[in-house]
Symmetry: C2
Subunit: 209 residues, 2 copies
DNA sequence: CACATCTTGAACTGATTGGTTCAAGATAGG
DNA sequence: CCTATCTTGAACCAATCAGTTCAAGATGTG
């Protein structure tokens, strides 16, 4: 079983990511990773680095993969901000509904463990959450929200998105998760409607830039 | 140092609770608990039970203590539902702002770890979250919300409350946390106003948030 | 003073942790 | 076929884990 590359790096990284995602950093041993990836214990260290390094790679992998999906979902924010935020939540709800994937969210889980994570890992987690806020802020500003509303909704939507991770772990039904985001979506809808009908506050008229 | 009760049970339980709260179940060893409580390793087992039992006691202690505060905050829901929900969030925000206490929330952290917790602990976590939803549902129904709105807002408010745990762990500022709950409070305010002005419809007129 | 009661620290068990090393074996290119 | 290259499993290390045991010592009561 040797001589050339015996395993697929992407498959192995995905398996490791899912293991960390399901059980968390503290509850994942190198043996668990070995089992999950099918890679030998020594192969993990030689090919994927030690536990901390591997976790960092998985975290970045997770952030990149779903970051792309969140970006795509928000891409229509300028013309259809409400649709964009709905699509944003659908990324998370779809992920939770996928039986192939664990519930929760690797970033949320890691954020909860920040006090006991290494500083570099903690920094990556905070960075990932910062990116999430940024893309939401940019999308909402590109939509028809005032800067102030965009800031507030960016924080709120990012937080509600994280709350889905907690609630899904506790066994919340899809209907319950929908109720959670529904209130937020309605609030955004209301804010957009208000801005349309009373156009004079901080910035210009609503446009479709 | 013996002969009679050498330690205060409540103090010890509080110390253990805070240790679990800060570091989580998986990242807390019995030695950590010994250090935190000041109790001897063998005293912990004889007086507080094994790690799992002690964690369960801490979890229930946490749920009871803050459950009371949440109940008190919601007690004025019938006459002042908006004030009640603000007070509800203030319980969490005040707890996060308290430098004596860890950030986050023991229930939220435990919920995230459900896949790797013992079944009995997992059941207690789900129960605690269920209680939270129940008290919110009851309060909102006692207020002026329709049953349907009360259900949705109960889910939403409970979830947003959990999101504060995640975001505070990631270093969110008090202002950011306020922005998160602000959107929810505004949404509730809107729902209440709508109900007052259109006692049967679901949509609303624009108002200034 | 003496006894009974309780707590304490320390030692111990067996399992598991992250991390390393290395000989055996499988493969590919020559 | 032969050799260089790579992977593998297993063994090993020191540290830590949860959990137990127990003699030594401190205390309150008689």
């Amino acid at each position: 079983m040797a001589g050339k590359k015996q395993f697929d790096m992407d498959t192995a990284l995905d398996a490791a990511m899912i293991q960390f995602w399901r059980a968390g950093y503290a509850n994942t041993s190198v043996d668990d990773l070995s089992r999950a990836t099918g890679l030998n214990r020594s192969s993990i260290y030689s090919s994927l680095g030690d536990k901390d390094t591997l976790f960092l790679r998985c975290l970045d992998r997770y952030a990149a993969r779903y970051g792309e999906k969140y970006d795509a979902a928000l891409s229509c924010a300028a013309s259809e901000p409400l649709t964009a935020v709905r699509a944003f939540f659908d990324v998370t709800l779809g992920r939770i509904a996928d039986p192939e994937l664990p519930d929760g969210c690797l970033v949320a889980q890691s954020a909860m463990a920040i006090p006991v994570l290494s500083p570099s890992v903690a920094a990556h987690v905070k960075e990932a959450l910062g990116f999430q806020r940024s893309r939401l802020r940019a999308a909402l500003k590109a939509g028809r929200l005032t800067d102030q509303d965009a800031e507030a909704f960016a924080e709120h939507v990012a937080a509600v998105n994280q709350s889905l991770a907690v609630m899904s772990r506790a066994g919340a039904s899809p209907a319950q998760l929908l109720a959670i985001v529904g209130v937020t979506v309605d609030a955004l809808s209301q804010a957009l409607r208000t801005r349309d009908q009373h156009p004079r506050a901080t910035s210009a008229e609503p446009t479709t830039r």
